[in-house]
Assembly symmetry: C2
Homo-oligomer: 216 residues x 2
């Protein structure tokens, strides 16, 4: 069985799943989504692919799964790679995946989208608001990684790492946020992820969708 | 064993957990957090309660759990109330909990916080940005509820409902967003939740923390 993944290169949320599939050595193929021309918002897409109007969507036989965190939990449980070893560890992984969705990915992704991919320059007040939220979330993770362990939960990489890593490998020019300069523990941690066998950065796995914005 | 829940009345994320404990009839007690005076950001809180600087935190014996979605998954698995009946249903519940954290709760909670609880008036451009995101998320859920079923996943309430319901019972004056007027399917759905035996609105379960903002 070959997985089918709806996605596009600029989506770090799609990259989270694609990276899992690559690192776990699973067969998959891309269903490219022409996101910047509205392909994820058509009535057909909302009715038949994902009512949330988003990527990623993973087709696993008869099932369609959405939300990167739910997909990663599903794949880890099914295939064993990057999985928890106890119920407590699973709760802890889920905790960090939720933090990622609520705070870490969400504000960064919005900030980067407005910085790089909108047709015109964003409002500086909105960007300052989002940047404050990005900083708070990045500092929380940087503190965690500086103190605790090689990976997010313990000494081995799990799907919590793949989730939080979704947006940290894109070119600095896309966000204007230089992780290496500002968040040393996050920078060291992403180096450990980049050293995993089979690792590839986002645009080496997923081709970018056309029609995106102004930069870089 | 009595659960201990760190929270305060204005936090819909704490209310999600408190509502579960009430509806499931479990013994629990509140650890009030003086949020608006910075109690969730002290070095002690970050080191010993929650490094994410947030509520809710649930103390379950020797374990401390954070992130409302992870806590709800833990409680449902342990006690059975509002739980899934298959692995597929669990994935679907988790999908909606992630949507809640990523889009539905997150933008609304930020909007309401700035509308009601900050010391001074927020920037109109930021509010317009957040309101657009709130609308998109609320329309997605309204469409889902209008089309599919009595509750978020199927015909029985699950923890997905308790998660998404976290912020829909607060007074309209706190957000300026009138759910009854704008999102009829969400309005009908919250009526079904309010009819569950043992239901109480937020401030009837959790006393508000002092020192909050300007309104109402």
């Amino acid at each position: 069985m070959t997985y089918r993944l709806y996605g596009f290169g600029q989506s770090g949320n799609a990259y989270k799943v694609a990276l899992y599939l690559e690192l776990a050595g699973l067969p998959w193929e891309l269903v490219p989504v022409d996101f910047f021309n509205g392909a994820a918002r058509t009535p057909d897409y909302l009715a038949n692919v994902n009512e949330m109007g988003e990527v990623p969507v993973l087709v696993d036989g008869e099932r369609r799964l959405t939300q990167s965190g739910a997909i990663l939990m599903h794949l880890a449980e099914k295939h064993g790679s990057f999985r928890w070893t106890s119920a407590d560890e699973r709760d802890e992984i889920l905790r960090w995946i939720l933090f990622d969705n609520h705070k870490f990915t969400s504000y960064f992704a919005s900030y980067r989208f407005m910085h790089a991919f909108m047709p015109k320059d964003p409002d500086p007040a909105i960007m300052a608001f989002l940047k404050g939220r990005v900083d708070a979330a990045y500092k929380t993770l940087d503190r965690h990684l500086a103190r605790d362990s090689a990976f997010i939960v313990g000494e081995k990489p799990t799907i919590a790492d793949l989730s939080l890593a979704g947006y940290v490998f894109y070119p600095v020019a896309e966000s204007g946020i230089d992780i290496a300069a500002s968040y040393p523990a996050i920078d060291a941690w992403r180096g450990r992820i980049a050293a995993l066998p089979g690792f590839k950065p986002p645009y080496d796995i997923l081709p970018p969708a056309p029609g995106a914005g102004r930069r870089p």
